[in-house]
């Protein structure tokens, strides 16, 4: 209805760098801060909105509330001491940090990882992916005021955390994948309990599908909102489900297979138009892929064999000079570790490339313009970003 269309001609012109010259003194605009203390924000970050009526004229992401200086701290920790700290970079899916870091160290130190450790690592990463998506599903529904999805999703995530707990000995920060392999094999009867959990996940997914995806109001809120056009993908470094929803069938698991992905059978999930709905849908289907992958892994993985290579004395561990980049496909996109060593017992530099770095900064600031205030939270959640991996 044309009745509600706003006249955008009165908005200020964007400058070359995309910023706007907004005269707050004119009284036409209102400055709004979403976050850091704001229930609609993902994690602890904030968005500075300049609104005109209900429309956002400009949005600026502010991060740093969770900055702990990991990259600096790692420079003064030995290679083994870095291993417990890396997982803290991303809370909902910490295992990716552990894997990337371990793989980078293994490559530079020339360690061979036992076959079974690869399988267990893949298993952990896929379990973590489900968890991360469940977290997202709850957040996405919650951002539109549908709390019940969050209840279900968090519950099945919790069941998955139980599996994590019995396998790794911890709920959130598993600290299980360390350079050289993994700590231990699977506990007795793990596959059976895992299958039960997977069934629960599937059941919850079906319910969520019925209630959230086949929902007139949800569709109304999300279809066609916050579209990432294919043209935006390269300039804004969009990866993962955000890009796949736009039809870019790029998945690191397929393109540059790592761990045991070459031996697993799956197809990357894609969509057609990357709006909030499709992105949510891609993620839902991705959970199904992960469930299938976990089943394949549990079926195909070797039942015995070592899970840990013999490490040198970690207290005196030095790694020859070199640099490398390890990437993987986490639930949010491309996760990578850039590790530089200088022959000493400490990393020279570690740089963590989290997908949120591009998604929550440049991309969000781009997408947020002309959005409705009501959609800001939903839009932000739909990019599936976690601030700690931006500021680390």
């Amino acid at each position: 209805m044309a009745l509600f269309e706003l006249d955008r001609s009165q908005y200020p012109e964007a400058k070359a760098d995309g910023s706007l010259d907004i005269d707050l003194a004119s009284g036409k605009y209102l400055k709004l801060w979403q976050g850091p203390q704001h229930p609609g924000i993902t994690g602890n970050m904030s968005v500075e909105l300049t609104v005109c009526g209900d429309e956002v004229v400009e949005g600026r992401t502010h991060v740093g509330y969770l900055h702990r200086g990991f990259e600096k701290l790692m420079e003064r920790r030995t290679f083994i001491q870095c291993f417990p700290i890396v997982c803290r970079i991303c809370v909902p899916e910490p295992d990716f940090n552990e894997y990337c870091y371990a793989a980078a160290v293994e490559e530079l130190a020339g360690l061979e990882v036992p076959e079974r450790a690869h399988w267990i690592r893949t298993l952990i990463l896929e379990m973590g992916r489900i968890n991360s998506y469940m977290m997202y599903l709850g957040g996405q529904a919650g951002s539109f005021g549908m709390g019940v999805i969050g209840q279900w999703a968090t519950y099945v995530r919790d069941l998955m955390l139980d599996r994590f707990e019995e396998m790794t000995g911890a709920r959130i920060y598993h600290m299980f994948i360390l350079p050289g392999g993994v700590r231990d094999g699977l506990p007795e009867g793990f596959a059976v309990r895992m299958e039960e959990t997977l069934r629960e996940v599937e059941r919850a997914l079906k319910d969520i599908n019925d209630v959230m995806y086949c929902n007139a109001v949800f569709k109304k809120r999300t279809v066609g909102v916050g579209v990432i056009t294919p043209e935006m993908i390269e300039p804004y470094g969009v990866t993962g489900p955000n890009a796949r929803a736009a039809g870019v069938a790029k998945d690191v698991r397929k393109d540059q297979p790592y761990l045991v992905y070459p031996e697993l059978d799956f197809e990357p999930v894609t969509g057609s138009v990357s709006d909030i709905y499709t992105r949510a849908d891609v993620r839902r289907r991705d959970v199904h892929v992960s469930i299938d992958l976990i089943r394949q892994i549990l079926q195909k993985m070797p039942k015995d064999g070592p899970v840990m290579t013999r490490l040198p004395n970690v207290l005196n561990w030095k790694i020859p000079e070199g640099e490398t980049y390890i990437r993987g496909e986490c639930s949010r996109g491309e996760y990578g570790y850039y590790l530089v060593t200088d022959g000493s017992g400490y990393p020279r530099r570690v740089n963590v490339r989290g997908p949120s770095y591009t998604h929550a900064m440049a991309l969000l600031e781009k997408l947020i313009v002309n959005a409705n205030i009501s959609d800001v939270a939903g839009l932000m959640v739909s990019l599936h970003t976690y601030p700690p991996e931006i500021e680390r």
């Binding site: 920790r77 030995t78 083994i80 001491q81 870095c82 291993f83 417990p84 700290i85 019940v148 519950y155 139980d162 707990e165 019995e166 396998m167 790794t168 000995g169 911890a170 920060y173 600290m175 700590r183 231990d184 094999g185 506990p187 319910d207 019925d210 209630v211 959230m212 086949c214 929902n215 007139a216 569709k219 109304k220 070592p306 840990m308 013999r310 490490l311 040198p312 004395n313 970690v314 207290l315 005196n316």
Partner: protein
């Protein structure tokens, strides 16, 4: 948008009729998983306080603190880890690295307090509710952060080595040594056990860094017999090595040897440093063994004029005359002696005390005197037939071999004794037998059984490899002599026990298990005594004695103010002990001499 989209969401209401999935009582119904990394437990009896957990903790959460009721002793620092739960991140690296496996985790995870200073405790000492928890994280089998296996020392094949006196072990290559040095966790528990308190972790660190000259300097600060000790030290340090608890100890002795091998011998004196300026004091040392020479070395570096009187042809004492060449090549010993000489020590060989030089003379001519005469008299079993000329003492034979004297090598011989000296003489004679007769015919009979054997395991292993027969738990009863008067062998009984209830030496035998060991010669290697005759009667009278040994105080000082005694003759046979003694005596003498200056 379809009608389905409007109706489908209402399916959520079916949950209304399902039971909630909530855990009714989360506080009691949810124990941590079997592998849960909860709060720490420590088996304080197992723990050795090595501090490896502290070293690996990236959060600086662990302090090593003294604990009431836990004594500091060899191989146990008496410290126990205190964990600050205001720092811990439950990564369990401390558990993974724990050298004894004493540190584990429970599956308990709830600790609440309004006092922020309360979150600090010594696991296993400060009693907590989770101390008895059965579940929880333990290091999985095979998951090690420090390599437990020692780098194998390459040595000559038994076939090749048996015919000669060449050194058996090859020594580590640089790569091997570095790999072995990297296994060290630098806890420093070994330092206290080493009689000379060598700075072991520090010199091992120099191997990792490849800085051998720094390593050599560290070695000679505490041990002028580094080359000797690098080969034949009894390495007590390795018995308390933290790695030893769940793996092979670090090859500390071989690493020490590796440092000395890596530095050119011409550079030694420059690296070690020249002695300080002269003080004008004169010191006499009787006996150029490890104890005497170490004291001489130290005193010379302090600037005193030291003269060493040695009865034999060469310096070195028991290290030369007691240890066969295949274990300690003479050039290594000579090199160490040369270093000591280079410090300005005057070593007078072939100068026995008694005739030309007497103790009374030394007392007059020198400010202080050290007696370090070692144990050069072999003890006898006193069994029937042991006075036969073909029954020899091991020390005498070894000396003869060292001095290159021709000895009558029997085709078959029996050794009585199970210590290292027994092995030395057996293996030396075996070599000579091989050279002369073409085959080995040695038998060793030991009082102890193999599980309590006195000789080093590797000595035993190598002896077997060289074709020497070893019988354990055999008590010698009689040397058998045939009617012509030739020794034909040794009769032994099976040993039932060696010590009585009170721990006194009183072996009992099973007479039914008798055995005849064939041999044309019997060698006694059951212990040595000091030859104290050289002290002279007057002095012997004046000194205090305890079971045939001179009584000395902790510094090695005798009851005579000018006289010190050190080494095997006061402490029993051990090279590195002798070195430690030498240091102690030197420090004590130096203090006395300095005090004299002041007064």
């Amino acid at each position: 948008m379809t009608v389905q989209d409007v109706l489908s969401p209402f399916t959520a209401w079916k949950n209304l009729f399902r039971d909630p999935v909530t855990v009714r009582d989360p506080l009691t119904e949810r124990p941590g998983a079997a592998r849960y990394r909860g709060f720490h437990k420590n088996d304080v009896a197992e723990c050795i306080g090595c501090g490896t957990c502290e070293a690996i903790c990236q959060n600086a959460a662990i302090d090593m603190v003294p604990v009431d009721g836990i004594e500091t002793k060899e191989g146990d620092s008496g410290l126990r880890p205190q964990i600050d739960y205001g720092r811990c991140c439950w990564c369990a690296l401390c558990v993974d690295v724990c050298m004894t496996g004493s540190l584990t985790m429970s599956n308990e995870y709830t600790w609440i307090d309004s006092d922020p200073d309360a979150f600090r405790f010594v696991p296993g000492v400060d009693h907590k509710s989770w101390d008895d928890a059965e579940l929880g994280y333990h290091r999985p089998d095979g998951h090690r952060l420090t390599p437990p296996e020692r780098i194998v020392m390459r040595e000559m094949d038994p076939e090749r080595r048996i015919g000669n006196f060449e050194e058996i072990v090859d020594g580590y290559s640089v790569e091997e040594a570095r790999a072995e040095a990297e296994r060290c966790v630098a806890c420093g528990l070994c330092v206290a056990t080493c009689p000379a308190h060598m700075s072991i972790p520090d010199y091992i660190a120099t191997i990792r860094e490849g800085d051998y000259e720094a390593g050599l300097k560290l070695l000679y600060e505490t041990n002028p017999f580094s080359q000797v000790c690098g080969r034949v030290c009894t390495h007590k340090c390795e018995t308390v090595c933290a790695v030893h608890h769940e793996g092979d100890p670090i090859a500390i002795r071989w690493l020490k040897r590796h440092i000395t091998d890596q530095v050119d011998r011409d550079r030694y004196v420059d690296i070690i440093g020249r002695p300080a300026g002269e003080t004008g004091h004169k010191v006499a040392v009787v006996g150029a063994g490890p104890a005497g020479l170490t004291a001489a070395f130290d005193l010379a570096r302090m600037g005193h004029a030291v003269t060493v009187f040695e009865a034999r042809k060469h310096a070195g004492g028991m290290t030369r005359y007691g240890i066969p060449e295949y274990r300690l090549p003479y050039d290594a010993l000579d090199a160490d002696v040369d270093v000591i000489r280079a410090m300005g020590v005057d070593i007078k060989c072939d100068t026995p005390i008694g005739d030309k030089v007497t103790m009374t003379g030394l007392e007059k001519d020198f400010d202080t005197v050290l007696v370090a005469i070692g144990l050069h008299l072999g003890r006898s079993t006193r069994i029937p037939g042991s006075d036969h000329p073909k029954v020899a003492k091991a020390v005498d034979l070894l000396r003869a071999i060292t001095d290159g004297e021709t000895i009558d090598v029997p085709k078959t011989a029996v050794v009585i004794g199970g210590g290292n000296v027994a092995m030395d003489i057996a293996r030396s004679l075996a070599r000579l037998q091989k050279q002369i007769h073409g085959e080995v015919g040695m038998t060793v009979t030991a009082l102890e059984d193999f599980s309590h054997f006195l000789a080093d395991p590797e000595e035993v292993k190598e002896s077997f490899e060289e074709g020497i027969e070893i019988f354990d738990a055999r008590g010698p009863r009689e040397v058998l002599v045939d009617e012509v008067g030739n020794v034909t062998g040794l009769k032994t009984w099976k040993v039932v026990s060696i010590f009585d209830d009170k721990g006194r030496f009183a072996p009992t035998y099973d007479e039914g298990d008798e055995r005849i060991h064939v041999g044309t010669m019997v060698i006694e290697a059951i212990g040595q005594a000091a030859d104290v005759a050289l002290l002279g009667e007057a002095l012997t009278e004046k000194l205090e004695w305890n079971r045939g040994r001179i009584t000395v105080d902790a510094d090695g000082r005798t009851s005579e103010p000018w006289l010190w005694a050190a080494g095997d003759c006061v402490n029993g046979p051990d090279v590195v002990h002798a070195v430690a003694d030498g240091h102690r005596v030197a420090a004590s003498m130096d203090a006395v001499l300095k005090a004299k200056e002041l007064s």
